[in-house]
């Protein structure tokens, strides 16, 4: 039980850190704001996300 708890915690952290969990959050938001429109698929969301990344910079330090 303990080990499972830790594995889940690590998985949660990694998914949040890498932004993998953003899709679910996006869908949830989408449902809230546009309850009638169908939610985007993972692939469609990925395209949106990429387009967004392209227009943005991300400072990385030394």
């Amino acid at each position: 039980m303990r080990i499972r708890h830790w594995v889940r915690a690590v998985r949660w952290y990694l998914r949040e850190l890498t932004g993998e969990a953003d899709y679910e959050r996006h869908c949830e938001r989408h449902r809230r704001h546009h309850p009638l429109a169908p939610v985007p698929t993972r692939r469609e969301y990925q395209v949106l996300r990429t387009r967004h990344q392209e227009a943005r910079t991300h400072s990385r330090c030394c």
Partner: protein, 717 residues
Amino acid sequence: MPASTLPESGLPAPEKSRISLRSALLWTGVALLGAVAWGVLALARGERISAVWLVVAALGSYAIAYRFYARFIARRVLRPDDRRATPAERLEDGVDFQPTDRRVLLGHHFAAIAGAGPLVGPVLAAQMGYLPGTLWIVAGVIFAGAVQDMVVLFLSMRRDGTSLGQMARDEIGRAGGAAALVAVFAIMIILLGVLALVVVNALAHSPWGTFSVAMTIPIALFMGFWMHRVRPGRVVETSLFGVALLLLAIVGGGWVQNSSLAGTFTLSPTTLVFCLIGYGFVASVLPVWMLLAPRDYLSTFMKIGTIALLAVGVIVAAPVLRADAVSDFATSGAGPVFAGALFPFLFITIACGALSGFHALVSSGTTPKLIQKESQVRLIGYGAMLMESFVAIMALIAAATLEPGLYYAMNAPAGLLGATAESASHAVAGLGFTITPDQLTQAAKAVEEQTLIARSGGAPTLAVGMSEIFSGVFGGAAMKAFWYHFAIMFEALFILTTVDAGTRVGRFMLQDMLGNVYKPLGRVNWKPGIWLCSGLVVAAWGYFLYTGATDPLGGINQLFPLFGIANQLLAAIALAVCTTVLVKSGRLRWAWVTGVPLAWVTAITFTAGWQKVFSTDPKIGFFAQRSHYADALDAGQILAPAKTTADMHTVVTNSTVDGVLIALFLLLVAVVIVNAAVVCVRAIRSTTPLPTTEAPYVESRIDVPGASVEPLAGARS
């Protein structure tokens, strides 16, 4: 009197904080432990002590600083209010603005601020002994570096995540703002050039290293394709797979080195320079998902994993510090790695890990838009910087555990050491240390490199130190070569990520500036504009990279001070902005919190800059160096370490460029500081508070359980 009734001094807080007996005992224990460790470090003279004392002294100090000083800054100076909605909540759009769990954001922010910087500076600074470096890293981070990060983060958060340049313009004025913008751009170019040079020096004539670092490109491309096309958005599985491939690439490098392919991957510094320049250009114009994003994930995973591994290694292996506590070079200023006395040059050499102006760009960019609750700036701003500082301490330990003879044989300029083990051994003896030619050859053989002579730049030295520590814990001597190349690869990976991302940031800044002159250039999706601006940015840092790789006097030895001064000047700009805002918002009483670090960083950068420009010692002053070599050229002489007339001309050109640049930087920063001082005086004299650009108060609707355990002074009730 029981600890729990200690009265609070200063401003009346709405709720009094109570210190329980348990907490009082715990913190007394931490303080005692830290004090004992510092005592051991201070009193050890002539005998070798364990690196664990350094770790304990640093961790004890960090804990105390975080618990007391950071809390003091939050409660008295910044006064965050958890009932006030953060921009992440108010402007939530699911993309840029998104309330993020504080632990996740700590990871994000740490990955964005920590890279190769804290690994390189302390290694070079080990020439002055381990003690001055440790003192500066620990004291610097507590009173300057972490304070800067936290305050900038807070101020930017209160302004909807505006950038440092924008804050300088809004809060200080147009002249200060423009100077800050130009300074940021110029400083970034130098940073990229110097970091790329570290990679070149680490990979030159090393087929193993070159192969494994080159393989990161196809690995990243594969990951990008997988995450974008095959299984969209599955970042975690792809990254874990990428890390496995990366480890395979390191092992594969060993096979390549012993195969007929070795020649293909044995590259001279100049070839590597052109490879990196080409790579930098391609990486910055390719779609982000192809190369930049996957590399970033890979780099984040490696960063967190390796740093954790290093911490475990240092504690388990508990290596002995072989370097002197304070070397003779600290006072004489005649060290071969970088010239100049302890003050100011130690403080310039160690930037990241103690105080790094570059962090102000991260703290005022992405992170403030993701904070859930205002009080979390303490954990994210101050806490992440303490973690980076700890990385710097470990790098210092890795360098200080090497035999000093080997350290100097690796870090003195090539011109001094010569090419053979005999000449290097002789040169090291001239510096007052010993290493036999046989020991040098053995050391290179142990990590399966052709040579370790004059492998400056910090990365190879750190890699040798890390391989010693790791092989003591995991795998023994047989694994030494693997760990060496593991360390090289992981540093190169960080640096290439910084080069990709930095080139893109530079491109956006340039497009923004040039867009004022010719409109289409400012459009972020106009291809010719993108190519032109990317090309210009790459050419700019490529120039410094090329001159660094071909400089007869040793590129790192010449350029690193320039990089350090540039980085610390950026910190001066950031701290000037912070101090101005504190004064303008009626917190003159607490302005010393950023004002004292500002005074300190101004003192070190301007002293160092002054010496670099006006010193008559050709080893320190760029213009003295220029005339020294120019006079010799006129007289038809060739001065060592230059070998040809062309070398002499190179030295003359390089020292002129470097000298002019330093003078320009100092001028820009002086404009910002003077402008800030004028605004501060005006604010003090004014009877009504001067306007600031803080976003208006909106009540928060989100509740974060356990986020605000401590009552916050100034919270609305």
